[in-house]
């Protein structure tokens, strides 16, 4: 039976070299996907130190399991899936360990340079409102369940398609859409007070 061929993995060469023990090849993979995975983990944990530790664990796990990687998916999909699973497990443990309150989470998020719009630098009042909005958004994100926050992070922040999210989370595409719909309603409601039409 004819099967449509999948495009080759752009990381095939680096992966093969890393599987043969070339640590520099694995370093190159870390540098290539580090920012993307950092975005996933940081938006899920909202904590810089937890993000750092978790990323170390994710890459360590990927390195140890690299020999088992058979290329059934791209390396990026494979490591992203590891990151998703490790992050969800970590969040479960963190909840058990401590009843995490929003005040314990990173307060630096609202000060991140990326959230300071350069066009607003000359307009402190607008920037202040935008910061307030981001603060409300972060608080609302952390109030979502892990599974809802995960789909928002993957779809809205990381720009991954519904189908890919469904594949990575091992749920149907309908479930992804339904979770997104519910999460959007929650976030819209949370931003109701701080939203300004001029944004």
């Amino acid at each position: 039976m004819f099967r449509p061929s999948r495009p080759p993995d752009p990381d095939q060469d680096l992966v093969t070299r890393a599987q043969e023990g070339d640590t520099r090849a694995f370093d190159a993979l870390i540098l290539k996907y580090g920012n993307k995975l950092h975005g996933l983990v940081y938006n899920m944990t909202s904590h810089h130190e937890d993000t750092h530790d978790l990323l170390q664990e994710i890459f360590a796990k990927a390195y140890q399991s690299l020999r088992k990687f058979r290329g059934n998916s791209t390396f990026y999909t494979w490591i992203y899936q590891i990151a998703v699973n490790q992050t969800l497990n970590f969040l479960k443990k963190r909840k058990r360990r401590r009843g995490l309150s929003l005040t314990e989470l990173d307060q630096t998020l609202q000060k991140d340079p990326a959230l300071i719009d350069s066009t607003n630098e000359a307009n402190p009042e607008r920037q202040s409102r935008l910061n307030e909005l981001q603060k409300s958004l972060n608080a609302a994100m952390m109030k979502l369940s892990d599974s809802h926050r995960m789909v928002v992070t993957m779809y809205d922040i990381q720009g991954i398609s519904h189908g890919e999210i469904a594949g990575m989370l091992k749920v149907s595409e309908g479930t992804v859409r339904s979770r997104l719909h519910y999460a959007h309603i929650q976030l819209q409601a949370a931003l109701q007070d701080s939203w300004d039409e001029r944004f």
Partner: protein, 128 residues
Amino acid sequence: MKPSVEQLGNLLALKREIRPEEAYWQDFLCEFHQRQREQAVKKSGLSGMIGSVVQWFSEMGPSKWAYGAGLAYAAVTIGYFLSPPSPPAAQSPTTPVHRVVEPTQPVQQLQRLDLSPTTEGETGEQVF
């Protein structure tokens, strides 16, 4: 007033730009290599092997309970077949067990003596 889904999406998309500085990844790689070296040293010892088994077991997910139960069952079964048969339980376990030790018969000891003619002699005589 609340934002539309599109406006919400735009606001969330701003978060795409949140990323650590370049220098962060160099430090990250140094720490990663350090951790890998420590891990390799740990794994070479016995405790590392035990740790690996424990980690393997903990990563198995819910199926570990089935495997655990199976292993426990197998251990009990093997233990049952390998253990020596227990003596008939005529006495209660609290009663001290009295073992009767048969005294060695003097006759048997005599039979073991060498009574060959070279050692035999007439009464009052010694044969050398």
